[in-house]
């Protein structure tokens, strides 16, 4: 028999979850999130409510309630809170530019990949992907264009979970491959290869410039491979993409990018000049997975001319109409060509790139 006290607390939890659902349902500013994501959240909440309702039939199971609260309900509430935080920050003048830019980039890549599922965006103390709600967390208070490639790595985790096989929408070829390989760090490497596949050299360059630590080149953690292993896998993936390119010119473009990244990395750490055999094999397999299962337009085009875009970002003029990937690639190309510029100039180019990623906002500003 359930006591009124226990029932009150359970009903309190149910009411809170319903309020969360209500808040999300009424939040029209949920960015460009697709209906599928909203439905996923609704299912999660309904599932937790069902768990709570089951508790009401089994007497005063305080231990069960505590377990449910900490293990199952708290993460859903945290995810919902993160979504709402993200939405509120999107309206903040300081954060609007980066949020809209990140949405534009990630939505374009979701579309180009063919996962058929939008991504939720929020902030945290560091970039990460949260599997439960399919949420990519940006790093607070990073509001520049330079960190966007790292978000594409986080999107790679979602792609690993959701990328179907052509002809079989329920198959998950990346997950199957990761399971089969028996390498707990391979998921991170897939996300790296995905970001490299989609953004070209901008991703490894962003990683090397912003994240890799000179004193920790070879320090793997339980969740992440060493920087050395990761960067060489990126180099090897660019070479694998070159090997599978449709024509010699594209192959030359990818090879050039691979050589540039390799040279940059070996100058930075001096540990080697070529990818290890393992990195070559794993990169080849992961690129092959993307080649087989993702849309062709996801693959970065090394031949696309970006000089006009780079020049426009540098001068702060309205750039020619370009896709989000081109803008991020052009911004990073500019940064690599100007390694010693003062922070103020970096900020100006970043602002120009964010404007280019938010055509409506740019039009509003012009008006």
């Amino acid at each position: 028999m359930t006591s009124p006290w226990f029932a009150t607390q359970v009903w309190q939890e149910i009411t809170e979850l319903e309020q969360v659902g209500e808040a999300l349902r009424h939040e029209e500013r949920l960015g460009t999130t697709t209906a599928a994501v909203r439905d996923d959240f609704a299912l999660l909440l309904r599932d937790r409510v069902r768990d709570l309702q089951e508790l009401l039939t089994a007497g005063d199971d305080w231990a069960g309630l505590d377990l449910l609260r900490t293990r199952r309900i708290a993460p859903v509430k945290a995810a919902a809170l993160a979504v709402l935080e993200g939405i509120l920050l999107r309206e903040h003048p300081f954060y609007r530019g980066i949020t809209v830019a990140a949405e534009a980039l990630l939505d374009a890549l979701v579309d180009a990949t063919g996962v058929g599922r939008g991504v939720l965006l929020s902030v945290a103390d560091g970039e990460r992907f949260e599997r439960m709600a399919g949420m990519v967390r940006m790093r607070f208070p990073d509001v520049g264009v330079w960190g966007l490639p790292i978000l594409v790595h986080e999107l790679g985790h979602l792609v690993a979970d959701a990328l179907p096989e052509p002809g079989d929408r329920n198959a998950r070829p990346v997950l199957i491959h990761l399971d089969r390989e028996d390498d707990r760090l391979l998921g991170e490497l897939f996300a790296d290869v995905f970001a490299t596949y989609a953004l070209g050299p901008a991703y490894p360059c962003a990683v090397m410039t912003l994240r890799a630590r000179p004193d920790r080149f070879d320090d793997a953690t339980p969740t992440h491979p060493s920087w050395d292993r990761r960067v060489w896998t990126m180099v090897a993936s660019l070479r694998a993409i070159a090997d599978q390119a449709a024509d010699p010119l594209r192959a030359a473009g990818h090879r050039r990018a691979a050589d540039q990244v390799a040279q940059r990395w070996s100058t930075m750490n001096g540990l080697g000049t070529e990818p290890p055999k393992l990195a070559e094999r794993q990169a080849r397999d992961l690129v092959d997975l993307l080649d087989r299962n993702a849309h062709e337009r996801l693959r970065f085009d090394p031949l696309a001319g970006r000089d006009a875009l780079v020049a426009a970002l540098e001068t702060g003029t309205l750039p020619p109409r370009s896709g989000p990937v081109a803008v991020v690639a052009a911004a990073w190309r500019w940064r690599l060509a100007n390694p010693d510029v003062p922070p103020a100039r970096l900020g100006r180019v970043s602002a120009a790139a964010l404007r280019a990623l938010d055509p409506e906002g740019a039009a509003d500003a012009a008006a």
Binding site: L249, R256, G305
Partner: protein, 459 residues
């Protein structure tokens, strides 16, 4: 009665031959007047048609004969059809006129003929006055025959043959395309097909005044970028900018390197494609060696091309060239001191060439402006590229060729060449100013160069 004198016969014969060249040059220049004759016939036909229409009109106004009216009704479409045909003939006539270049070097030929004639006069006068004995006179005659005259005759026969090939379009419009290119580079030159240099009596470095020779078999679209070198030599002759690069007493080797740097700067990756893939010989020594020339060309191009398609083309050419050089067992500019010297030259050349204001170097930004659309048209990604520049077209054609999965597929390569020529559009009439002067347009004021030159001038 004067004795038959062989020396006098030979001198007179030589005078006659040189005079003939002078007359033929004038005749060649009068090719256009024959078209003028056709034009006047066309005018007469059009006038006749107008008269016929007037007569019909007058008859209808004055008479009332239903049977005749029926007949006139049948006649009118016939006249309209005739008018259309005459108009079409006019267009063809204009195109033909456009393809016939005017000989800008008639003065140059006359001057050369006059110089030889004066030399013959001098020999004869000196012989008569006793200032020259007969053996010396024979030597002077031999010298004239073997050097100046021989060269004049060879050049001129080549040039007349080339003019015929151009006029009839048998050169596959390559001369016209080359003219377009030289015009974009504001080089005051015209191209005519000719025999290969080594068959033309060692006249490999000859350019007949303002004419450059397209040595056979360079009559394909793939060879047109080679004329960047000729344009470079013309730039050396005319631009004060070049002096800094040449230095005091520059020899042919240095001039060649500067012309190569100019060609690479002006034509972009297409220059490297033509020169390295089709002409230069890895492993053949020279001063400068082809390996050194290639080093400079690739150096200039790497300084110009950041990334994108132009950089990929340069990478592929370099890879192919270096492979061939290694295969021939030659070290690619092994001496570090020489390499440093060439690197410094490339830096200086790029800095100097960027001061040219009449056109912008074909860097990766220019590739986007000029070659992106023609490339898309050639590879079937999008429709037309009307109004493409020759530089853009040549670079796009080479890039399309380089992107073939099988780079040795002759049939597809030919298809690309044909498509590129088709993109260049119908045969073109010269610009109005050119019609008047008979010279190619020069300077940045030309309509076709102005389109892309102006926004970047004064960099």
């Amino acid at each position: 009665m004067p004795r038959l004198d062989l020396l006098a016969v030979r001198l007179a014969d030589l005078r006659e031959d040189v005079g003939k060249v002078k007359r033929v040059a004038k005749l060649a220049e009068s090719r256009h007047s024959r078209l003028d004759g056709l034009r006047s016939v066309r005018k007469e036909v059009r006038d006749g048609l107008l008269d016929a229409r007037q007569m019909i009109f007058d008859f209808r106004r004055g008479g009332d004969a239903p049977e005749l009216e029926l007949l006139l009704g049948d006649l009118e479409p016939l006249l309209a059809d005739l008018e259309r045909k005459v108009a079409r003939a006019g267009v063809v006539l204009d195109q033909l006129d456009g393809s016939m270049i005017r000989l800008m070097n008639t003065d140059d030929v006359s001057r050369r003929c006059d110089e030889i004639l004066r030399s013959i006069d001098t020999v004869e006068a000196d012989l008569r006055a006793g200032a020259l004995d007969r053996p010396a006179a024979w030597s002077a005659l031999d010298r004239l025959t073997d050097t100046d005259c021989r060269r004049l005759f060879v050049d001129y026969v080549d040039m007349l043959g080339g003019l015929t090939l151009r006029d009839t379009g048998l050169d596959d419009r390559v001369s016209e395309l080359t003219d377009g290119l030289l015009e974009e580079l504001t080089a005051p030159l015209r191209a005519v097909p000719a025999r290969p240099a080594d068959l033309a009596g060692g006249a490999g470095d000859y350019s007949a005044g303002s004419l450059v020779m397209l040595w056979f078999p360079e009559w394909t679209i793939w060879d047109v970028p080679l004329f960047g070198h000729e344009a470079g030599l013309a730039w050396l002759r005319s631009s004060p900018l070049a002096e800094g690069l040449l230095g005091p007493a520059a020899g042919p080797a240095r001039r060649g390197l500067v012309a190569d740097a100019y060609g690479a700067y002006a034509l972009g990756p297409a220059y490297a494609c033509s020169v390295l893939l089709l002409r230069m010989r890895p492993g053949v020594a020279g001063e400068p060696s082809d390996v050194e020339r290639a080093y400079v060309i690739l150096g200039v191009l790497r300084a110009l091309t950041g990334d994108g398609m132009s950089a990929a083309v340069v990478d592929l050419v370099a890879e192919c060239w270096h492979g061939a050089v290694a295969e021939r067992g030659v070290a690619a500019v092994a001496d570090p001191a020489r390499r440093a010297e060439l690197d410094a030259f490339v830096v200086a050349a790029c800095a100097t060439l960027r001061n040219i204001t009449s056109f912008r170097g074909f860097d990766s930004a220019q590739w986007e402006v000029e070659a992106t659309e023609p490339f898309a048209a050639l590879t079937g990604e999008s429709g037309s590229a009307r109004g493409a520049t020759v530089r853009g077209l040549l670079n796009a054609a080479w890039a399309a060729r380089m992107s073939l999965p099988d780079p040795h597929d002759v049939a597809v390569i030919q298809e690309i060449a044909d498509a590129a020529r088709a993109l260049w559009g119908p045969r073109r009439a010269p610009l109005p100013r050119e019609r008047l002067t008979g010279r190619p347009a020069q300077g940045p004021q030309t309509t076709r160069t102005g389109g892309y030159g102006l926004p970047f001038q004064g960099r």
